[in-house]
Symmetry: C2
Subunit: 205 residues, 2 copies
């Protein structure tokens, strides 16, 4: 069986994670999300919570960034930041997982990290705001912030993190082989399009 | 039969136009590309060549833009430019076509013009550079410019035109329901995914 590594990037609330799980089940291949976070946490001695929250969010500014530029190289005072260290370890874990065999990897800029992997299929899942807002309230409950703000906040952080580490625009269709609007197409149909494409790739080999 | 208006935006050389034609044939609905240009040309008294080239390309600068700002409103010297007039007429033709019944419309920012049309399915077709370069040389022949330059030139103009008139980023996946890499997925499979989705939408109605 030819190896297929499916990366699924997703907007918060779009159902991308559910689609990823269903694809992995249908193809009977491993699904890495929390498991990936666990592996990175073990390798870095960082807490799983920190890995989960920081591994897809924009790095904060070093306190030294507020000092005037004294002609020193930008990282002179900084050394390697925890965020850069985390990025590097996360990258290694993802490269290792893709080496091991077919799998589905959710988020974590895996589309960029595996961009030159010929066995990879890169997918982006997005959805209309009303659909996502409704979905996060049903799944994660109400909070003090409006659902629209929660969406903008979470995806804003993902966008900034992706831009910072990859230099690319998050959600730009050219970064993925397939981008799907789950609110228009439906979650089940998204799953079947992806499963069907992987099946076709295998048949052609 | 429920109305379905499929807009297909595409990178130069990606095969988007061939995909659009094949989708229209499979669904037995009209396909608007040159026909749309002809209609716009008739309504505007502009030449079809001008409509074809300017209708998706960035507007040039008015000569007055080189004058110092004398505190006049930006359009004081300009009136409505030919490009703005063309945009407005092209927009009307597209809205009319979508009213008439099911169809496939290629390019011309139709995804933006019909963004609030509940019957529309918006598709973006892109492809790897090597695939597109090879394809344009086979289809349109060699030229003095390298194929990669021809691609960058044409799509750069489309991107600037789209940004100018819509304020949105061309190729940003959230602007489309479906974005496909035709070099990875194959033209035939792109056609069948689109046809299948439209069939599903109709069945659900």
């Amino acid at each position: 069986m030819a190896r297929t590594v499916i990366t699924i990037s997703r907007e918060f609330g779009s159902g991308g994670r559910s689609i990823a799980k269903a694809v992995a089940e249908a193809l009977n291949i491993p699904y890495y999300d929390k498991e990936l976070i666990k592996q990175v946490a073990e390798k870095t001695d960082l807490s799983p919570e920190y890995v989960e929250n920081t591994g897809e969010h924009a790095p904060g500014k070093s306190v030294f960034s507020f000092l005037p530029n004294l002609g020193m190289p930008q990282n002179f005072f900084k050394g390697i930041s925890t965020e850069d260290f985390l990025w590097s370890m996360q990258r290694n874990v993802i490269l290792d997982l893709a080496e091991k065999g077919s799998c589905v990897i959710v988020g974590r800029s895996a589309d960029y990290i595996l961009k030159d992997n010929p066995d990879a299929l890169h997918v982006f899942i997005h959805a209309a705001t009303a659909f996502k807002a409704d979905r996060i309230v049903r799944l994660y409950g109400e909070s003090k912030k409006k659902p629209e703000e929660r969406l903008a906040d979470k995806d804003g952080k993902r966008r900034a993190h992706y831009k910072h580490f990859t230099g690319r625009a998050w959600g730009q269709s050219q970064n993925y082989h397939l981008s799907l609007d789950s609110s228009k197409i439906g979650l089940e149909k998204c799953v079947s399009i992806i499963v069907d494409l992987v099946g076709m790739e295998r048949k052609n080999e």
